[in-house]
């Protein structure tokens, strides 16, 4: 479904990605793990068009999207739930959700709000509240809900558990598992490697802009290098 081949991204002189190749098949949940500054978020931003690769190819359903703009990419069916939630604090929950569907006809978007509130009943109770007044966990739900409003076929999640209470982290991963059961393809970046490898089918390990390991999640979990660096055993 998604295929990155030899992708390079540079911030000025700093080469953040030095030729990485990643594959995400339909219906898969693929995790991208690695330490700070390894290039995980950069990879996601390159996919959704927020950054432009300096070399390499990004294909979505057979179509080259490495030069497309973000609004086109969202329209094609990729939705990016950004790191740190980034809900619109001065807009209401409802407006945040409506904006998530900006690439689609408004009538469909309105009826889709119900789908999101079934997934996150808490959001349904807070429809007219301003986004900035929600708790961190609720904001994360809103960010995921907003990303789902464009009816993506591929959902990109950047650190969904960042800064959340352990209970909330459990809840977010339950939702991710639900979405996976529903057949949604996902690419997940996560510092919480335990959880990420529990939910994912496959994973890639990213170090200083290069893929150093890849394989099925349960194999990687037993890999001594991964255990040592990320699982702390």
């Amino acid at each position: 479904m998604l295929e990155l081949t030899g992708v390079h991204v540079a911030y000025g002189n700093i080469r953040a990605l030095q030729g990485i190749s990643i594959r995400v098949g339909a219906g898969e949940l693929v995790a991208l793990i690695g330490s700070n500054g390894a290039g995980k978020s950069t990879t996601l931003k390159a996919i959704s068009g927020l950054l432009r690769p300096s070399a390499g190819r990004i294909e979505f359903e057979g179509r080259d999207i490495s030069r497309a703009s973000t609004d086109v990419i969202v329209g094609l069916g990729i939705s990016h739930c950004p790191e740190g939630r980034r809900v619109f604090g001065r807009l209401t929950v409802r407006e945040n959700l409506l904006l998530g569907g900006i690439t689609r006809p408004i009538a469909e978007v309105r009826s889709d709000i119900e789908r999101v509130t079934t997934l996150f009943p808490r959001l349904g109770e807070r429809m007219t509240q301003l986004g900035g007044t929600l708790s961190g966990g609720e904001q994360q739900m809103l960010a995921i809900g907003r990303a789902l409003m464009s009816r993506p076929r591929l959902l990109i999640l950047d650190e969904p558990s960042l800064g959340l209470a352990p209970m909330m982290v459990e809840r977010i991963f339950e939702v991710i598992d639900d979405l996976k059961r529903g057949g949604l393809t996902m690419l997940l970046v996560e510092q919480n490697v335990h959880h990420a490898l529990d939910s994912a089918d496959r994973a890639y390990v990213l170090e200083s802009g290069l893929i150093t390991l890849e394989g099925p999640a349960d194999v990687l979990r037993r890999n001594p290098q991964v255990e040592h660096s990320y699982l702390g055993r």
């Binding site: 703009s69 619109f88 001065r90 807009l91 409506l98």
Partner: protein
């Protein structure tokens, strides 16, 4: 039925405003009539800047340039043929024969047409300028739009054949009255209101709040900004046309920093992003400026008014940086039912009518 219910408070306010205007018209108090027209023109200008800057967070210092183009365009188009030949002898041929000075009964059709043509011309210019400038953000866009204002001024000064250059442009027919001014002001308020609570408005406020988040969910940054910029330019041109036919003689010096900053002050005092706030801010600053002018006259301390107005502006920035209303709106329904202080609309915020 639902539409009627929602429109009722609006209708009451409209009727009350029309009654007040009719009374003012009948009273024959020329000073207050002039002030009311001035008020309307400023409401349009502030609403224009509200669209362009308050909704999008893109700080435009160039909209008075659009006003200038609107004023000159409409003034030149409405000049009667005889006056034109004598007054602007070197006009380009294609402009020589144009004279939109006809009226149908009491309606100055030519004036309406000239205003709309001025608006259309400015929209084209704003589209071209905005397509480049709306890619910038922060200080950069402020400086670039300021550059546009300077360019307009230089062109107006040097296009002698069309604008009379630095000499005063007079002989403009005094078409603008209370009804035209407030009719257009009502249209400006309606336009801003509708845009704010539309999908475009939400996109504008979203990218103002967080550009990266907006992009990540597929909002094009350029499109809503450009819509706001061009719509604001149109309203500025309308205000320019009304101003030209109200004051009847002007020169390029009018359309510069002084006016630019006065409009910004009104917008900031009312609350950037609030449609009703823009009207309130305009009223307050206009009233204050008028009062201070009288004090100046009485005390002979000329310049005092400007200083006090600036101090007031600084105080607002310090103690109420988001203005009187912020992004919220006054709920007309509450206002009409006279239950103040309960349901203020938050603006893209709660209670969106959809």
């Amino acid at each position: 039925m639902r539409v009627l219910q929602m429109a009722r408070p609006t209708l009451i306010v409209l009727l009350a405003a029309s009654a007040a205007l009719a009374l003012l018209q009948l009273s024959g108090l020329a000073f207050w009539q002039g002030l009311a027209i001035n008020f309307a023109i400023f409401v349009i200008l502030v609403q224009a800047l509200n669209l362009a800057s308050g909704f999008t967070g893109v700080f435009s210092l160039g909209h008075i340039g659009f006003m200038a183009i609107g004023a000159y365009t409409s003034a030149i188009l409405t000049l009667p043929l005889a006056t034109k030949a004598e007054y602007l002898p070197n006009l380009p041929v294609w402009l020589e024969g144009v004279h939109l000075d006809m009226t149908v009964g009491p309606v100055p059709v030519g004036f309406v047409a000239a205003t709309l043509i001025a608006g259309a011309l400015v929209m084209v210019i704003a589209g071209l300028v905005g397509a480049v400038l709306m890619r910038l953000s922060g200080h950069f866009v402020a400086v670039a739009t300021l550059g546009f204002l300077v360019i307009v001024r230089v062109v107006l000064f040097n296009a002698d054949d069309i604008t009379r250059g630095s000499r005063t442009f007079s002989n403009v027919a005094p078409y603008t009255n209370l009804w035209w001014a407030w009719g257009w002001a009502a249209i400006a308020i309606y336009m801003a209101w509708r845009l704010k609570f539309s999908g475009y408005g939400r996109a504008m406020f979203a990218q103002k709040g967080d550009r990266w988040a907006a992009r990540s969910i597929g909002i094009s940054i350029l499109r809503p900004r450009l819509v706001a910029f061009v719509a604001g330019a149109f309203l500025s041109a309308v205000a320019g046309s009304l101003y030209a036919h109200f004051i009847t003689s002007f020169s390029p010096t009018v359309f510069y920093f002084d006016l630019t900053f006065r409009v910004i002050t009104m917008l900031v005092v009312g609350g950037m992003g609030s449609v009703s706030g823009a009207v309130i801010g305009t009223a307050i600053v206009l009233a204050l400026a008028e009062a201070l002018r009288r004090i100046e006259g009485a005390t002979l301390l000329y310049g005092l008014g400007g200083i006090l107005l600036a101090v007031f502006f600084i105080a607002v920035i310090i103690f109420r940086p988001s203005g009187i209303l912020g992004q919220r709106e006054i709920d007309l329904e509450q206002l009409v039912a006279w239950r103040p202080r309960r349901g203020r609309r938050r603006g893209p915020g709660s209670a969106t009518p959809d």
